[in-house]
């Protein structure tokens, strides 16, 4: 282990260039720590985004040596074996500055995918009885722990090619709701997620699955939507 890391960091907005820094290596050091070190000790104008520091908020994701990753939980040893790091903002999102992205499109697409609960009961009713090992509940549970980090969104080429594509995270959310027995919005949702902005645009590249830090499988969710929308289409419900 050499005692410094050679880091190239993206500077600027959509247009910009890489800038090189040398950062001392520490035994406990994440990629976020490397970026922080640069801001605190070398160039105070370096911009990046983070909040929770522990993989819960999904705001620190960046492209690290070509791959999208959450940086607060990516140990340097894991990605910079040869002592070099190249850090740039996530692909497929607008860049605010340097490593910080604007996630507005990503959130808007969650909404467009009807990725929100449509209630059938109110606060004056009791909890629904839902058996934990009910198959639908299990399907919902498999996909529910998304932190909205947009790593999958950044790993998917279809998002790049088709600007309207809702993307793996939004579709994954829609699928949890399709399996949520308490939800009443499936008709609108299936229409929203069908079509060439929706699940049918996915070609199972599976970059989403490969890179999701939470080990979710948007691909699986999307194939579920393909089947569900096909059924709806055959019944004339779309």
């Amino acid at each position: 282990m050499s005692n410094s890391i050679h880091v190239s960091v993206w500077r600027g907005g959509e247009q910009g260039q890489f800038e090189a820094f040398d950062v001392p290596r520490q035994p406990s050091q994440t990629v976020l720590d490397v970026v922080t070190y640069i801001q605190r000790n070398i160039d105070p104008t370096l911009s990046y985004r983070f909040a929770c520091r522990v993989g819960m908020c999904g705001s620190c994701a960046m492209t690290v040596n070509g791959k999208p990753r959450w940086t607060c939980r990516t140990h340097v040893n894991k990605v910079a074996g040869d002592g070099t790091l190249e850090i740039s903002p996530l692909r497929n999102l607008k860049v605010v500055k340097d490593l910080a992205c604007d996630m507005t499109d990503f959130f808007d697409k969650m909404n467009r995918a009807e990725g929100k609960f449509h209630p059938t009961k109110s606060r004056h009713d009791d909890f629904d009885v839902v058996l934990p090992d009910d198959p639908a509940r299990k399907l919902a549970a498999q996909a529910i722990e998304c932190i909205g980090c947009a790593v999958c969104y950044s790993a998917c080429d279809v998002v790049e090619w088709n600007k309207d594509y809702l993307g793996p995270a939004a579709l994954n959310r829609a699928w949890t709701l399709v399996n949520d027995v308490r939800d009443g919005g499936n008709k609108a949702r299936l229409t929203a997620v069908s079509g060439d902005a929706g699940c049918h645009a996915c070609h199972s590249q599976q970059g989403c699955v490969k890179h999701c830090p939470k080990n979710l499988s948007p691909t699986f969710s999307i194939t579920g939507l393909k089947r569900a929308t096909a059924k709806a289409a055959l019944k004339g419900e779309l």
């Binding site: 000790n41 105070p44 522990v54 605010v96 909404n111 929100k116 609960f117 109110s122």
Partner: protein
């Protein structure tokens, strides 16, 4: 100086500051009660992605099950709060939580964990006489905030993301609030948002301590703005420490983040630097004693100097069955592994870590404050938890009162209602304050941060006494002056984190002064507040609480008697036989 600095103006009916449980519930309730209201959420990061509600692991306290009751939850809360809670607030918390949790589940779509029979699961959490914590695995906060955010995105609620509030701006005629001065962080410019009502929900956050759990965006901004606006904070000496934060050196942001309490519950050992257990010296329950006792025990051990390499202690599970540990604490094991630690078979270095501020802005059960038009909810407020917050009462607090604030606002504010003229002098003064470092050559603000962290930790942290608080007080004055000599290059203010670090420190130092003043005033030990020179709880029946505010740039201190409006010390609302 500020002449060439243009301010953009923006008008809205309701401005919500912060997108935690309190802020988002405030926005949703205001909008639901009156869809004609223009509601804007301004937040220091991205909506729903920052703040601590998202980080809630344990869960949400609410009395639902047969055998439990609001009364019991209330008694646990007041007992835990060591009787200085404002009881009408605590009562509001426990009763309204019963509605809010169903709203979360039924209307917003949170999918809380169930028992095998399909009813909602409630788990045990320390300090409670009943298992009442509703949860979604150990990622309850993500579920809550994701579901809230989705609903906000779907509504006509305006978003001002990457917008930092820097001052509560009163009306020129003194009639109440008239708006909030903000920095548009992306552009590095100021923006004045004029609003008929403002909800302060920026979530406190004791990040002035060397080791702390909250997210990086939380730096007591709300409390600092409230102090500068002449408002009163209470219970500021009450800072809760969580016993097991990770410690991995000063250069990693991982330091301070929580390792789950359940590890101790499951039989984990705490070891000193010589790998020997020590907790039994402090409590017969050993590692399973309550948060405050374990934190103090650890702090004592660390003072005695038998520490691990980063100055902390160890937690270990290696004497337990590896597959079991791996299975029961999957999330924690993975998190540790990502950061280079082996939780299953090795030693993980830990340290107590500042977690939550029980103190905050004085407010009423309907979330109004001293300033007309200003509402407050969540961790920014004080009085609900008293001297200690029960695990699981934090998110209940922010969601309950956030919703109430939204309702109160909608009941008072009319869409399009005239907003009074702003007090320009406050805007000028705030801009001058914010721009202060920009006129100077760049300097290192790191030293100020590290010193603040160290001194608050050593002198105003888990264990305090008159002498240490005095040192802390002097140091804070010195650090404030030192911060005023640090410069930030003005050329590039767009998303300039270092500028915001400066502003963060400015606020943290101010609020730290409040903590130190209140801690100096309270000459007994209660809940989270431990005075080595007054180690006993004193005179419960005549309990007082502390209040601080700012006059002429100086912290003013006061104490007020607690009004036992519902139950007195020694009494209970419970039918004692039933327990």
């Amino acid at each position: 100086m500020s002449g060439n600095f243009t301010i953009e103006e923006h008008r809205t009916d309701v401005l919500v500051l912060g997108s935690g449980g309190a802020g988002l519930f405030g926005a949703l309730h205001a909008k639901a009660a009156n869809p004609e209201l223009e509601v804007t959420v301004a937040v220091k990061g991205l909506l729903g992605k920052c703040g601590c509600t998202r980080m809630v692991q344990g869960g949400y306290n609410v009395a639902l099950a047969p055998g439990d009751s609001a009364e019991r939850h209330f008694m646990d809360t007041v007992d835990g709060g060591k009787w200085i809670n404002r009881q009408d607030l605590a009562w509001k918390l426990v009763t309204e939580a019963q509605v809010r949790i169903r709203e979360l589940e039924n209307e917003l779509g949170c999918f809380f964990d169930r028992n095998p029979d399909g009813s909602v699961h409630q788990k045990a959490f320390a300090g409670q006489t009943f298992d009442r914590t509703v949860h979604k695995g150990d990622l309850t906060g993500i579920e809550i905030i994701n579901r809230l955010s989705e609903q906000v995105w779907a509504r006509d609620i305006k978003r001002l993301e990457d917008h930092r509030a820097v001052a509560l701006v009163p009306a020129a005629d003194g009639s109440g609030i008239a708006g909030v001065l903000m920095i548009d962080m992306r552009a590095g410019t100021f923006r004045l948002v004029r609003a008929a009502a403002v909800l302060l929900a920026t979530g406190g956050g004791p990040t002035m301590y060397k080791y702390h759990t909250p997210s990086g965006d939380k730096t007591c901004d709300g409390m600092a703005m409230a102090l500068r606006a002449g408002l009163t904070l209470r219970d500021m000496e009450m800072v809760q420490f969580h016993p097991t934060g990770l410690i991995a050196g000063e250069d990693t942001r991982i330091t301070g983040t929580i390792i789950e309490e359940g590890l101790r519950g499951a039989g984990g050992y705490l070891l000193d630097g010589n790998e020997e257990r020590f907790m039994h010296k402090y409590d017969e329950r050993g590692e399973r004693a309550t948060r405050d006792i374990v934190s103090r025990g650890m702090f004592q051990e660390m003072r005695e100097g038998v520490t691990a390499k980063n100055g902390g202690l160890y937690i270990t599970m290696r004497h337990l069955e590896a597959p079991l540990v791996r299975k029961s604490f999957k999330g924690m094991v993975e998190r540790c592994a990502d950061c280079g630690f082996d939780l299953v078979g090795g030693l993980v270095e830990v340290v107590p870590t500042a977690h939550y501020m029980m103190g905050g802005l004085v407010f009423e059960p309907d979330c109004t404050t001293e300033m007309a038009g200003l509402y407050a909810a969540g961790e920014d407020t004080g009085g609900v938890h008293g001297a200690n917050r029960l695990g699981g009462n934090g998110v209940a607090n922010s969601t309950v009162f956030g919703g109430i604030a939204g309702d109160s606002i909608a009941a008072t504010i009319k869409p399009g209602q005239a907003v009074p003229d702003v007090d320009q002098s406050v805007i000028d003064a705030t801009m001058a304050l914010c721009r202060q470092p920009l006129d100077r050559p760049a300097g290192r603000i790191d030293e100020v941060r590290t010193e603040l962290w160290d001194h608050m930790w050593d002198d105003a942290g888990i264990v305090r006494d008159a002498a240490s608080l005095k040192r802390a007080d002097a140091k804070l004055i010195e650090l404030d002056a030192q911060l005023d000599t640090v410069g930030i290059a003005e050329s590039n203010l767009a998303y300039n984190l270092t500028w915001h670090d400066w502003l963060n420190l400015k606020n943290l130092i101010l609020v730290s002064k409040g903590i130190v003043a209140a801690a100096t005033a309270r000459e007994d030990s209660r809940g989270a507040h431990f005075r080595a020179d007054y180690p006993e709880v004193r005179d419960l029946e005549n309990s007082t609480y502390t209040v601080v505010n700012l006059k002429d740039d100086k912290i003013q201190l006061g104490t007020k008697p607690v009004d036992f409006s519902i139950v007195k010390p020694g009494e209970t609302l419970l039918d004692t036989d039933a327990a």
